[in-house]
């Protein structure tokens, strides 16, 4: 029987050893290339290579350029343009980068032998804090101290507003955690379930090959598990894209609140 260790796939190990480097504020940090860092580099490399090849300025786009323009158009029309509106254009690059990086990291995790960088809480947490900080910075830059109007529900008794302000504040401050845990949980769960069914495929097949009679049922279970692995992998492909889209969409929703604060929402 092969050992079932569903968490082994999330282990980080070094690929290239580098000496620790002092980082201001953090002290000496081991910046060795781990499998996590390696796949981040692969994702960044793939994205850059694709866009260096695709971001041409042809009037009649080729295939790659058409794909790049389609992605851009989707973010422009649905996310920044659709959610934030006319003031959304300046935020297109950050939303675009977040969406593409998360999507490609999710998808790389589904490749055979791939490491799922977005199943690392350190990564989703950092991206969530980054998103939160950007929203805060934009909020204060655009509105100054008027930013705090975001938490003050207008048009009701001050006592009621004060009570609701506490709830608004909590729901605002909890955002980085929900962002980080949503992506982390989706990636973790998806990969664990696929791993477990994949382990069933092997272990039930081994059990089935052990003898006749009851053991033969093991082969049937193995086949069923294989079908499940296929179905779950397809589902995970969809989730990989959807979660990246959800992140980008939520970023736009949060930005919309602070960008169009004076417009009411």
């Amino acid at each position: 029987m092969a050992a079932i260790e569903p968490m082994e796939q999330f282990l980080i190990h070094k690929v290239v050893n580098l000496p620790p480097i002092p980082v201001p504020g953090l002290g000496a940090v081991d910046l060795s290339i781990t499998n996590s860092v390696l796949f981040m580099l692969i994702a960044a490399g793939l994205l850059s290579a694709f866009f260096f090849a695709a971001a041409r300025r042809e009037l009649v786009p080729g295939r790659l350029q058409a794909v790049a323009e389609m992605l851009y158009g989707m973010v422009d029309n649905v996310l920044t343009g659709g959610i934030i509106g006319d003031r959304g254009r300046p935020f297109l690059p950050i939303v675009f980068t977040l969406f593409l990086l998360i999507a490609i990291l999710n998808l790389l995790g589904l490749t055979p032998g791939g490491f799922t960088v977005t199943s690392q809480l350190a990564i989703t947490g950092t991206l969530a804090v980054l998103t939160f900080v950007i929203v805060l910075a934009v909020g204060f830059a655009r509105n100054g101290l008027g930013f705090f109007k975001l938490f003050w529900p207008a048009g009701m008794h001050p006592a009621m507003s004060a009570f609701l302000m506490v709830i608004e504040l909590i729901s605002f401050l909890i955002r980085p955690f929900t962002l980080a845990l949503r992506l982390f949980g989706n990636m973790l769960g998806g990969h664990v379930v696929v791993y477990i069914f994949a382990a069933f495929v092997v272990n039930l097949a081994l059990f089935g090959l052990n003898g006749f009679g009851l053991n033969t049922l093991g082969l049937l279970g193995s086949g069923l598990s294989f079908a499940m692995v296929l179905a779950l992998t397809a589902l995970d492909l969809v989730i990989a894209i959807i979660q990246a889209f959800v992140w980008a969409a939520l970023t736009c929703v949060y930005l919309n609140e602070v960008v169009n604060l004076d417009h009411g929402h």
Partner: protein, 175 residues
């Protein structure tokens, strides 16, 4: 399969993701990579794609405007040609009608001239006839005088002078 690193312990105990020793490296690398990607996207890729799309839309709307202008010009020319055609048609019709009426007038004039000539001839002929008749009538008296003289001579044997006979005839036949 088991790794002799501290992370291996996490695999048996809990999630490897909670091994905080692995966090700083990942966070720093992520920030570096994200920063580079954001720089590339905000400065290179997104402007290139956006400008290309804008340029294409400008080109398309410009071309559509050109085509619309060309269509309008063609339509105006068509209208002008139709106007010219109708003017020319009217002129041709007028020319044809003028020619027709001219020919009619000429024919009428010719006819009138012919009729005048005929009337003249007729009048001349009538005059001739009247003259001839008058002349014939004047001979009739002479013949009557001579006949009467001859008859007097044969019946009486006397000679009657023509003046006498003439007077007698004039009394008998008032001319």
């Amino acid at each position: 399969m088991a790794d002799p690193t501290p992370a291996a312990a996490a695999s048996s105990g809990g999630l490897p993701q909670f091994d905080l020793a692995q966090w700083p490296g990942q966070i720093v690398w992520l920030l570096i990579i994200f920063g580079v990607l954001y720089f590339l996207f905000s400065r290179v890729f997104v402007p290139a794609v956006a400008e290309t799309i804008d340029a294409r839309e400008d080109k398309i709307s410009g071309d559509i405007g050109d085509a619309r202008r060309a269509r309008d010009a063609a339509r105006a020319e068509l209208d002008a040609a139709a106007g010219e055609l109708s003017v020319a048609r009217a002129r041709a019709q007028k020319v044809a009608m003028d020619a027709q009426s001219e020919a009619k007038a000429a024919a009428a004039a010719r006819q009138a001239a012919e009729e005048a000539r005929l009337a003249e001839t007729l009048a001349a002929a009538e005059a001739r006839i009247a003259e001839a008749r008058a002349e014939a009538m004047s001979h009739v008296r002479t013949i009557a005088v001579e006949t009467a003289q001859a008859m007097i001579h044969r019946l009486t044997g006397a000679e009657a002078s023509s003046a006498e006979v003439e007077r007698a005839i004039s009394e008998a036949i008032p001319s």
